[in-house]
Amino acid sequence: MEGIEGHAGRFTVTLREHPRFVDINKCIACGVCAEKCPRKVEDAFNEGLNKRKAAYVQYPQAVPLKYAIDADHCIYFEKGKCRACEKFCPAGAIDFNQNERIFTIEVGSVVLALGARHLDPSAIEEYGYSTFPNVITGMQMERILSATGPYQGRLVRPSDGQPPKKIAWIQCVGSRSTGATAHEYCSGVCCMYAIKEAVIAKEHAGRDLDAAIFFMDMRTHGKEFERYYRRAESELGVRFIRSRVHSVESSAPGSDSLKVRYADDTGAEAEEIFDLVVLSNGLETSNEVRELADRLGVAVDENGFVKTACLSPLETSRKGIFVCGSVANPADIPQAVMEASAASSAAARLLAKARGSQVREKEYPAEKPIDPAEIRVGVFVCHCGINISSVVDVTEVRDYAKTLPGVVYSTDNLFSCSQDTQQTIRDAVTEHRLNRVVVAACTPRTHEPLFQETIREAGLNPYLLEFANIRDQDAWVHQGCPEEATVKAKDLVRMAVSKVTFSEPVERLQITMHKSALVVGGGVAGMTAALGLAEQGFPVHLIERNGNLGGNARNIRATWKGEDVRSYVEELSKRVIAHPDINVLLNARIESVSGFVGNFLSRVRKGGRSEEISHGVAIISSGGGFYKPEEYLYGQHERVTCWHELEDLFEKEPERLQRAEAVVLIQCVGSRDEDRPYCSRLCCTASLQQAVTLKTRKPDLEVYVLYRDLRSYGLREELYRKARELGVIFFRYTPENKPAVSAYEGTRGKLNVTVQDHVLNIPISLDVDYVNLFSAILPQTDNDLPHLFKVPTNTDGFFLEAHAKLRPVDFSTEGVFVCGLAHYPKPIEESIAQAEAASSRAAGLLARGTIEVEPVVSVIDQERCVGCGFCEASCPFGAVKLVAVAGKGFRAENIPALCKGCGICAAGCPQKAIDIYHFRDNQILASVQAGGETTREAKASSRPSPAARVTFVSGYLMRRDCMYHVGHTWIERMKGGRLRIGVDDFAGKILGPVDRLNLPPRGEVLRQDRKGWSFLRASRRAPFLSPVTGKVFDINLDAVSHPENVLKDPYGDGWLLVVEPKGSEAELKHLLYGEAGFRWMEEENRKLLELLGPEYERLAASGGGAVEDVFGIRPEIGWETLVKTFLRTEV
């Protein structure tokens, strides 16, 4: 950007376009030019960790993915020969006679998003960045950890390629210090990226990696940051050492590891050896940015950041030019995204009249009809860098997918969600005529819309897609067992394929937008959002609970830059009330909200009567309150105040300030503890501001600040320096021993505060006139907005946005947005920026005439429906109604727009007449069936086959799963607790063939160990003992007519009785089971051989079979003895 002329609304900008020497339309990014190029250059993208060629692309997933030639290092430009790339380029895309182009463009407004650059730490010699290879910057560590980095994501040291065991992070490198190239401000992001890198490094290298972070104040002030910090410290064992590192040297001559020397809390000298040292270098603006700002006439502050006012954080000194991101103040990604949306709202307001004049609608190719019979599934398995492939064997899953029915194409990609892979997917769909797609990658909740859009651009209906979540719910959570994770991945892919075969094309629903907005909460955030939308031409209804506008901002005097807030709030309220398109409703509360994005209907009660408001979008800015502390005598002593109460007191009675000699300000009251484990973020800045104003108004007043971590992040560090210069004294306390406040006499006199000094390590007692507490900021919980709008809140009670980074002001429910304290505690300038962002996101929806709604809704088969109305009763969204149908009485009918697709009606419908698009019964059942397939086969094959249940003991057939009674009967458990009884092989063999069985009649009651029934062989009788007590339920009539079965098949057809046991369970204990039964049988066999005499013993010993009919062969033994010894009964 060379220069700019004109005024807001009509600028002409002159641009210089550097030549790329590659024709974008021809280049297919095949990489041959880079391969063939002889010249190696330091790769700035990888922070100089490796080399790239003069012909290069920044990174494999760059957007646009087109190569470029680096003119400063290309041999052709230096010596005029080579042109190797031109020879080998298959697409003929190299074009050396491209030259610089300078041209002008007419624009209405400009947004500067130039970002910031990482500070070069080589100027700080004590850290030895330029001398030691293993001292690297935060960005270099980032590249080492990245899968597209120089080492493909393997965590190794640059010097010798060995994995480090101990890594140190040194904070505030080039920030918060007055060194030569350093800056006084705090860069605001290094603490967080250091902790993240330590956590991710531990994940790469395993939990035993020793990660230590050397810091002064741990500034984790953002939403969920404090929890991340606590978890890194307590759960993952990252060491946090509060110290100031003064030098890094080589640990021993010639060794690659480094000795870090630092002074710890107590001031003692300490040192420690590390394999790798990471310098968390801060952010700064480059000189190019300063020159560009001059050319544009945009003012810059002393640190080189574009100067912005707190109360108009997006406007620069020149009207019509807006700013966002790190070029205005060092910001992390959520802050940058919020400010970007805000800047687009500010820019859009300027062009409201020209909306839509130069925009064309995106068309999609006609949808190819698919023939349901022919299933052609394409499976795309993702590595997600190393997130998946480090645990799941992706190639194995890909090859497995090929074997699944219906799958005609299966491949794997490094990053499926990257721009280039989207193109390969589109090509694959057309080339292989795919009509179904399965993506095995991350969670569908975030990436399904992306892939649906891709296949829609390839002419496929977006609902012919199914996701298998093998990252968040497989690779990431089963890192300890890779094989099991791979098996699970295969199962999930199989389930997805079986479900997608039943998918069918579903048409998107178009709904007209109601072009008006509802803003809930009239604080500064609410008013800013309302104005943001109204000035873009959309009518707004502003609902405020109290009687006046302004909210919490009314009791703030000034921003940290000293701008007067009170007058700003006054002026803002006037502008809101005066604006024709804003309908302000004071003392109003919301009673009910119904409808959906584009067609909300809210009932608002105001002064006794309630009115209905229909609106397209809603912005929640319900603000927050502060925690009324119980500790430190608050509420019991007149001089213990909270937040602004001290300033109000001094304003009302100035002489109190004159008389006061000392004041104490205590931080983190009720914040960062068990019940509120979050940082309220603005108390540090507010307390420093209060300390500075008190000191300037009364220089001899003693001001003490008691803090845990002083988090004056970003450019606010200046306040901390000013406070120290004015003589404010800071004490750091730890949650373990908090300061104690006690009153001398009564509730009006002086107070005493004792606190443990962190340097001297002794308790200090301070006599003070006032104690001011900075307590936690709480969300507004006495309204039931979460239920009304059906939007979630996080565990601390603040609203849970759709995504912390990518959609920080949206909710996952479409059409509802959040800004201000309701999202998370934040200073007023960030609330204003977030309100603008919310209005921009809302305007994005309102600008469109119609909106497409998820067509995953119920479908009702009116033939089967009988009009019972259960669905209407059970539907939480009122999305199904009973309507009169000619000739059929009442039938159910759904209202697609209201339907959320939850399916409660489908599950409850007695006639199974309702189904849900994309989640049909047959789809879900198929998925369940596929899920169990492998285990189902395994179980079927592993069922003990009947043969396995039988075994031979001393030649006699026995059943493993039966119990045995000493009277040689077997008992088998049957369903319903009944018992089947028969005679075992041994008894059959000793008695020989039997002529008649006389069994007890049905209903007879048998007693355990009493005679139950008997066998007859010719005239001899062999009575049997009943193994259990019970009533005879059934008799084997076939066996009675064919007694020979008993000998032939004692356990099968030869069963005798079925008994309903009447005895206690303990009775079964007397029976023999498993091994005990086998040993008993061997014993019985030994007794039999004794009876038979010596020659049989020899025969048996040689393993001969059991004798068939013992009595038949050796009648002399005697029927009675056989019956008595073995059946234990008297003849």
Partner: protein, 67 residues
């Protein structure tokens, strides 16, 4: 692979609550046994009693319904 019994559980997870919770467990790398096979549904109310029977018939050892 060890032949000792690997339980297989079919899990019906509601997209807005349990499925999101499972993703959060993934994002925070909280490890749990690889026994569940997840079927994503839009609401736990969608689980028809027949799904539970189908799950047991399809070879799973347990059915988890989480909303």
């Amino acid at each position: 692979m060890n032949d000792e019994f690997q339980p297989r559980i079919i899990a019906f997870l509601c997209n807005w609550c349990a499925y999101a919770g499972a993703d959060l467990a993934g994002v925070s790398r909280i490890q749990y046994p690889p026994t569940i096979r997840v079927v994503r549904i839009l609401c736990s109310g969608r689980v028809d009693p027949l799904y539970v029977v189908k799950g047991l018939q399809s070879g799973f050892d347990g059915v988890l319904v989480s909303g």
